[in-house]
């Protein structure tokens, strides 16, 4: 356990050093998500919000909360896809092989990378979100606990997702298609910008593939309605989804290293 913690720590520090080298990073981490968020918000504004899917919400603030939780989740998941994509650079730099030259616990490396990237990428936007949440909701003191709970739900599910992305990139150097497959569809099908219950059945099936869908099912009732009971139904769905993803990740990881030991392909690029 201590070993795993040490590796996670090393990965977090490494990723921080590796990516925080210019102010441009701050733009992508804070300004860009905010711009995307406002973009979404103002595209809804001209419409009559008392009709359509939005009529279940009480107010403008609710819509802001809906969108901001959606985007926080989306940014978390997307940043992990990017960090996995960075695995390709490690292949080229030869550092991927150097990592596999060590006896380090592979599972710790996979999830260490994910956690590292997550913490790196979302803390700034998270601060912004907390600020907005507290400001517009004037959340009662007894519900403040929902904020950290929501974060834990988002972070854990994103890290599990990130582990899978890392392994897929470990497996194949041609995995960049994932960027296209997972990016926009995830916004759409996970209900980042609109509630999933308005979807037709086929779209709901696709939504079920993204754990972000369930994470948002938990986080939104907590932060919008302040209701723990409403979020409970999402929990077991999320757990099952995460469990499946973790098993798939571990299976692929084993296969990837076996494959590499056979073909020597961690140096291919």
């Amino acid at each position: 356990m201590k070993e795993i913690f040490q590796i996670v720590r090393a990965e977090v520090i490494k990723q921080h050093r590796n990516s925080f080298h210019s102010y441009g990073v701050y733009f992508t981490l804070l300004i860009w998500p905010i711009v995307v968020f406002f973009n979404a918000y103002y595209s809804y504004k001209p419409f009559n919000l008392s009709q359509g899917p939005w009529n279940t919400f009480a107010s403008q603030e609710d819509i802001i909360m809906f969108l901001i939780t959606g985007f926080l989740g989306y940014i978390s998941f997307k940043s992990l896809l990017q960090s996995a994509f960075y695995m390709g650079h490690e292949r080229i730099n030869g550092t991927l092989e150097t990592i596999f030259l060590t006896p380090a616990n592979r599972i710790a490396i996979i999830y260490g990378r994910a956690f590292g990237a997550l913490i790196e990428n979302i803390w700034m936007f998270s601060v912004f979100c907390v600020f907005v949440t507290v400001w517009i909701r004037r959340i009662p003191v007894e519900s403040l606990i929902y904020i950290p709970i929501s974060f834990i739900v988002l972070i854990v599910s994103a890290a599990v997702w990130g582990g899978l992305m890392n392994v897929i990139f470990l497996f194949s150097r041609d995995a960049s298609f994932l960027m296209a497959v997972f990016d926009e569809p995830m916004i759409l099908f996970s209900g980042v910008r609109m509630p999933t219950f308005v979807f037709p059945i086929w779209a709901k099936i696709i939504s079920a593939l993204f754990p972000l869908t369930y994470a948002l099912m938990i986080v939104r009732p907590l932060l919008i309605e302040g209701s723990l009971s409403a979020s409970l139904q999402g929990i077991y769905k999320l757990l099952i989804s995460l469990l499946l993803i973790v098993s798939l990740t571990l299976w692929l990881l084993k296969k990837a290293e076996k494959n590499a030991r056979k073909n020597g392909n961690f140096v291919f690029y």
Partner: protein, 345 residues
């Protein structure tokens, strides 16, 4: 002690003609029946031309690649069954500027890789300082690697290769692209590691003088097969290369000429005389070194030696002959190819 027995590696390449063409399976026998031994404190050379199978051998010994057949053990640990245990006690240093994070400093790089070996944190900092000292990067320790020169990056690689204090160290062309002074310094490091810290070292290099200078024992590998082994000088003489002697003397009498012809006849040497305006130069080429006998003839006839040059066979020439032809080892190679055919079919 590292013992490798009959290691083989066959790479399988799936090739496809065009985008939807039929898949064909191509096999490359990169390493074929390699057996070798490294004792602690020894520097063992693995020499061969491009594509001979050196890197593949090193990757198998460091448990990055699984051998197709054969076995190896390091300090009694079975390398096939316990690859993770092997990884604890070996490390690989590759030439070039890859394998380190350029945006991190030397210290951060070492901290990262040391963490992957699960060293306790308090020990980690001390040993990193020690390593930085060893490779003389103390001053630049907190500077990003991208600002380093090639030599500095290479020294950082060495430090990285030592973070887990490996018992056996594999150096894959470690002096690639370094200037002569830094390469020499690096060779001193390597010797120090073997002599003072008792590490077993396997070295591959394309600079033959480096192997001559450092290695206690050399394996020559070609097309995946070990085709010759020996100490550097044994190998140099093994290929029946001639020693050339060039002397210049002020004049040449027919008596001396006759005496020289006589020893040449006995030793089947090739002789050439060349009369210049001020002196005569004699060149003798034979498998044995005839310098002593030649000098004896000249001095006993009262002829002063104006100039003497002895060209002994060099490992480099021996290697070229071994790898690119030469009848003495032809048999050996064809032998090896018939074996490789058997192994893949």
């Amino acid at each position: 002690m590292l013992i490798a027995n009959n290691l083989c590696k066959v790479y399988q390449l799936k090739e496809r003609k065009g985008l939807f063409g039929p898949k064909t399976l191509k096999e490359i026998m990169a390493v074929n029946d390699v057996s070798l031994e490294i004792k602690p404190g020894q520097i063992i050379g693995l020499l061969g031309i491009n594509g001979a199978g050196k890197t593949t051998t090193i990757k198998m010994l460091s448990a990055l690649l699984e051998p197709t057949s054969g076995s190896f053990s390091i300090n009694g640990i079975d390398g096939i069954r316990y690859p993770q245990e092997i990884k604890r006690i070996v490390n690989v240093i590759t030439g070039g500027e890859r394998n380190i994070y350029w945006r991190l400093t030397a210290r951060e790089n070492l901290e990262y890789f040391a963490s992957l070996y699960n060293l306790p944190r308090h020990k980690l900092n001390d040993s990193i300082d020690e390593l930085l000292e060893l490779v003389d990067l103390k001053e630049a320790a907190d500077m990003p690697v991208e600002r380093y020169s090639k030599g500095m990056k290479q020294r950082l690689q060495i430090a990285r290769g030592l973070v887990n204090d490996p018992k056996f160290l594999f150096l894959d062309e470690p002096t690639l692209g370094l200037d002569v002074a830094i390469a020499k310094e690096l060779r001193n490091h390597v010797r120090h590691l073997a002599e003072k810290r008792n590490k077993g070292i396997l070295l591959t290099t394309h600079y033959i003088t480096e192997a001559e200078e450092l290695c206690d024992w050399i394996y020559v590998i070609d097309k995946g097969c070990i085709i010759a082994t020996g100490t550097p000088s044994e190998l140099a003489y093994s290929t029946k290369m001639n020693t050339n002697i060039l002397v210049s003397i002020p004049e040449l009498t027919s008596g001396v000429k006759k005496e020289i012809y006589e020893i040449a006849k006995v030793h089947q040497a090739k002789i050439e005389f060349q009369e210049n305006t001020t002196d005569v130069s004699v060149s003798i080429s034979a498998q044995e070194n005839l310098t002593g006998q030649l000098a004896h003839i000249l001095t006993s006839n009262g002829l002063p030696i104006l100039h003497l040059k002895i060209i002994e066979p060099r490992l480099e020439d021996a290697l070229i002959q071994l790898s690119y032809g030469g009848d003495s080892i032809e048999r050996n190679i064809s032998n090896c190819e018939s074996r490789s055919y058997k192994a893949t079919s």
